[in-house]
């Protein structure tokens, strides 16, 4: 399964990617903002994206995906420091399938990934 990890922090991408790798996911691509992410969508089956990023933020990126005939059905998990109820509701309204608030531990991440891809 091809997974795209989007976060402006290299550290955060590293942590997420290492966790996914340790659980057997090996087809992983990464991007530092929404624009870079949109350019790397080919073949992607699951998107994990940050919210606050320069150039194009995660919510705008999600809206772009949802407007695309090709990408609109790809499951999306948002991983962000934005933990307020309002933000979570807004993200879900835009079509995000699951939501993880930073700081998170590895088990939470893998659990949400599993739940998201199994429908």
């Amino acid at each position: 399964m091809k997974v795209l990890v989007v976060d402006d922090s290299v550290t955060m991408r590293r942590i997420i990617i290492n966790s996914l790798k340790s659980s057997g996911y090996d087809d992983l691509v990464e991007a530092g903002d929404g624009i870079e992410a949109l350019a790397n969508m080919e073949g992607v089956e699951l998107v994990l994206t940050d919210w606050n990023m320069p150039n194009m933020d995660g919510l705008t990126f999600v809206k772009e995906l949802k407007q695309s005939d090709v990408y609109k059905d790809i499951p999306i998990i948002m991983i962000t420091t934005e933990g307020g109820k309002g933000e979570v509701i807004e993200a879900l309204k835009q079509g995000v399938n699951n939501y993880i608030v930073k700081p998170f531990d590895k088990d939470t991440l893998l659990d949400k990934v599993k739940k998201t891809i199994s429908g």
Binding site: S9, R14, T81, E82, G83, G86
Partner: protein, 160 residues
């Protein structure tokens, strides 16, 4: 009800270090900072902008402390304040200010987060958003100290 504007940030530091890094940190007595110099060699600072609460929060680490934390968090060692280490400091301050935001939201107070900025160098200057008093809160993990700086302005004319 009197609101404690410092505790949400303290809680967020404990939570970030515990969950993301896997370490238990302890907190020391806060003090008021007298100048703009930091106690650390690397500092991440982030702005908050809200109708009621505005300001900035910084996390500053001596080099040895942050290298130890980096190793613990990433599982690889670093021997200098590399771009990776700088990035991690930026993300840590992001998680702390974001974590506090979640707690403030429950009290009906909201603010926007800026993108974190990182500065390095021995005893460097950090400019907070306002010329308000800066509260410094010392933390420690084993023999590795670091400090959080908080400078908050409450805009009392606005409704929270």
């Amino acid at each position: 009800m009197k609101i404690d504007y410092i505790n949400p940030f303290n809680n967020a530091v404990f939570n970030a270090m515990d969950t993301m890094v896997g370490i238990q940190v302890s907190r020391d007595k806060p003090y008021l900072k007298k100048d703009n110099y930091t106690t650390g060699d690397i500092t991440g600072i982030m702005g908050m902008a809200g109708n009621y609460l505005s300001g900035s929060v910084a996390l500053t680490f001596p080099e040895q402390s942050i290298l130890k934390i980096y190793e613990k968090m990433i599982g690889e060692s670093a021997d200098s304040l590399s771009s990776e280490v700088q990035d991690m400091v930026g993300e840590l301050v992001n998680i702390v200010v974001g974590g506090a935001k979640t707690e403030f939201t429950e009290l009906g107070i909201s603010y926007q987060l800026s993108i974190p900025m990182v500065v390095t160098g021995p005893k460097h200057v950090i400019k907070h958003k306002y010329e308000n008093p800066i509260i410094a809160i010392p933390f420690k993990w084993e023999n590795n100290p670091f400090t959080m700086e908080i400078s908050i302005k409450l805009l009392s004319q606005a409704k929270k």
